[in-house]
Symmetry: C2
């Protein structure tokens, strides 16, 4: 089954690569329109998924992630329309070069080809990824979570109908609609037809893909994120930024995990941040020095950090606190414990800001801002398929340009190599 | 042993990432100078390798590849000096973006980190790769062929001394100097410390790396290259281009493997190209129609193509010939039998040229030129570490820019996400 699916995706990708920007936008808008027309059918399918998930005992915050509502569907359709409005990177000509021998050389941006994405729960990902892929002329193979299978089937059915109505091949967007894991194992070996694999999920999925895929893999989405509160930081602002980074949406990868605090600020800042964030339900894992400064707080709120606590992506209302002697120690801690996702410095010392930016090698490095901005739409990409924390191909939020590659085009006048 | 080596490379890479362009150039020039000073020692080590290779029965054209001479060493040193003169991509700022919320966003180009390269025979690769890696602030782990181990040891010893004299860590350039293959197997699992793996070798090595590496792999260097001689081609020029592409250096990946000939040109072109290339010792594997046209030629020169012949990278003086009805058939043949390396059209019909360029999705697509130009120095990159035929990260010749990645830098004024 998968081989045929992958071959069809490859064939479809050759057709998609030749579409004009207008043709691609028309399809995206048509899918958005179809979602509105078929709203009830989608909601019925999704209700079945939700019912089964509840029956299987899924926690309510996870059920919420997989639930579609009228409003959410409208917002998904609007996202598709927004992607249609973004400029299409395909066809861009760059790195022109005219060697002395008279050749005319340039690169032109082309689609990656066939992309596979493995993800969980949220059915909006199905449309986000399909939309970004189609906009860049890529075919995509989707493998959503088994808990959303009925919703995803319905959504992909709508996409297929819309593609058909615009004379485009259904192979452009394909769903592995079986929960059987053997298909994931098979998919990972399809390098002949699939050009990039993005696993969106936890560390175990990434590890499995890294170890078993013969397709180039983009891993990411795992962030142990740090903020360093420097001696010169605006401490009131720092409390607000820490609160935003930790509390606004604790379950996501760009949420704050560890606050590193300069010893010169620790006496004033630590009690203030604990006071404020405790109101939001945050609890703290603290190093020895921070523990002494915070000894007046109740033990259930402020606990000594265990050996792995500074290497944990919390994804919940827990925050690590550590006092450091100086900037270098903060940078060293981030290098040792970070995941090269999003790390920042809060300071009014320009030299320290520049040093931090130059020495901290994360996908996103911040000065005086919350780590929560590592996000395609926040950073001007309009949307995202994933956030890469590896170094090859793309780092940080990946959107349209990151779904493309290039080819060299060389025009000669009957040139031969000397 | 390998874990320590990889950790040292990672540590060295953090130091290299901070060097100025001038510091990096100084080291490269110092290595080039040291090569001249230590010339005799290098030649002695290389002579031992050559002696052992001959004793083991290595074919003379392979012995030639591993042999260093005074001239070749001078040319290697000059290559290093040329890399020093190339502009350093590290530190380049791009994709600046100023969202309405007042954040200042840009990307900055940074080294990839630690690169591993597995290669064979030619000891000049050791210095090419080390030079390009150092110029871009990357550490590199080298695994040369067992037949060049004494030469490589000496060369890396010279690099180490030069690094030391410039106060740089020897960990920046490391050699796996054991022929034991278990070290390759170990290396492939070092994703924690190694950011990119480039296997330079045959299909079996690529397959082994793709299937076993947990490090992102760049595969490439395998080219089944095509030229399509259109009905309107300048046939005299076409013979010269075919000859250049096939004969100038038949053992390399951008050499021509198959000529596709429009039926309207075949009657005149095929006898002419066979006549001319036979003088250079080329023999031909031809499809049925070409066979009829060439029936006057001796059977040892012109043989019917076997079932795999159009899927073979010849790397020798053999050339496939096939007659096609039209442009589309040529494009289809390339899609089916090519390796997305280098493919071209010879035509005087501008519309056909544009159609070919748009529909053929190879790393390098040519109009009226030899495929032999797919090469870092020919295409303006100054040098190359490899030629990628995969689609992720880099396609075609890879040099300085392709050894870098980027990070996002976000400056705020105490910004929090709404």
């Amino acid at each position: 089954m998968l081989t045929r699916m992958a071959q069809e995706a490859r064939m479809a990708s050759r057709q998609l690569a030749l579409l004009s920007e207008e043709q691609k936008n028309t399809v995206l808008e048509h899918i958005a329109d179809s979602l509105a027309v078929q709203r009830d059918a989608v909601l019925v399918a999704n209700e079945s998924d939700v019912r089964e998930a509840r029956a299987a005992g899924m926690a309510e915050h996870l059920v919420d992630r997989l639930t579609l509502t009228e409003d959410r569907l409208t917002s998904i359709a609007n996202d598709l329309r927004r992607v249609a409005e973004l400029p299409d990177p395909v066809g861009e000509i760059f790195d022109e070069y005219f060697p002395p021998n008279g050749l005319k050389v340039h690169k032109v941006r082309v689609p990656l080809g066939v992309i596979a994405v493995i993800y969980e729960s949220r059915p909006n990902v199905t449309l986000d990824v399909a939309g970004l892929a189609l906009k860049t002329g890529n075919a995509v193979i989707l493998r959503g979570g088994s808990e959303t299978i009925l919703s995803n089937r319905k959504l992909v059915e709508i996409i297929h109908l819309a593609l058909k109505e615009k004379d485009l091949p259904a192979g452009a967007v394909q769903l592995i609609d079986s929960p059987d894991r053997k298909y994931v194992a098979e998919l990972l070996k399809m390098h002949q037809w699939v050009d990039m694999l993005i696993p969106r999920g936890g560390a175990a999925l990434h590890k499995y893909c890294r170890e078993n895929s013969t397709i180039p893999v983009i891993t990411g989405g795992i962030g142990i994120c740090h903020l360093f509160v420097d001696e010169s930081a605006d401490l009131q602002a720092a409390v607000k930024i820490a609160q935003n980074a930790k509390v606004q949406r604790p379950s996501v990868c760009n949420a704050l995990d560890t606050l590193l605090v300069h010893k010169g600020s620790a006496g004033e800042f630590l009690p203030a941040v604990v006071d404020r964030l405790a109101e939001d339900g945050v609890t703290f894992r603290v190093d020895e020095i921070a523990g002494k400064i915070l000894s007046a707080f109740p033990a259930e709120l402020v606990q000594p950090a265990g050996p792995d606590d500074f290497d944990t992506e919390w994804l919940s209302l827990v925050l690590g606190l550590k006092v450091v002697d100086e900037l270098d120690e903060a940078i060293e801690h981030i290098a040792e414990h970070g995941t090269q996702h999003s790390d920042g410095i809060l300071t009014r010392t320009d030299e320290h800001a520049r040093c931090f930016v130059s020495l901290v090698d994360s996908a996103a490095v911040y000065v005086n801002a919350s780590t929560r901005f590592t996000d395609g739409s926040q950073l001007g990409l309009g949307a995202e398929v994933a956030i890469s924390t590896q170094r090859l191909h793309a780092r940080g939020p990946m959107a349209l340009k990151e779904l493309t590659t290039y080819k060299w085009v060389i025009w000669g006048d009957n040139h031969i190599r000397e």
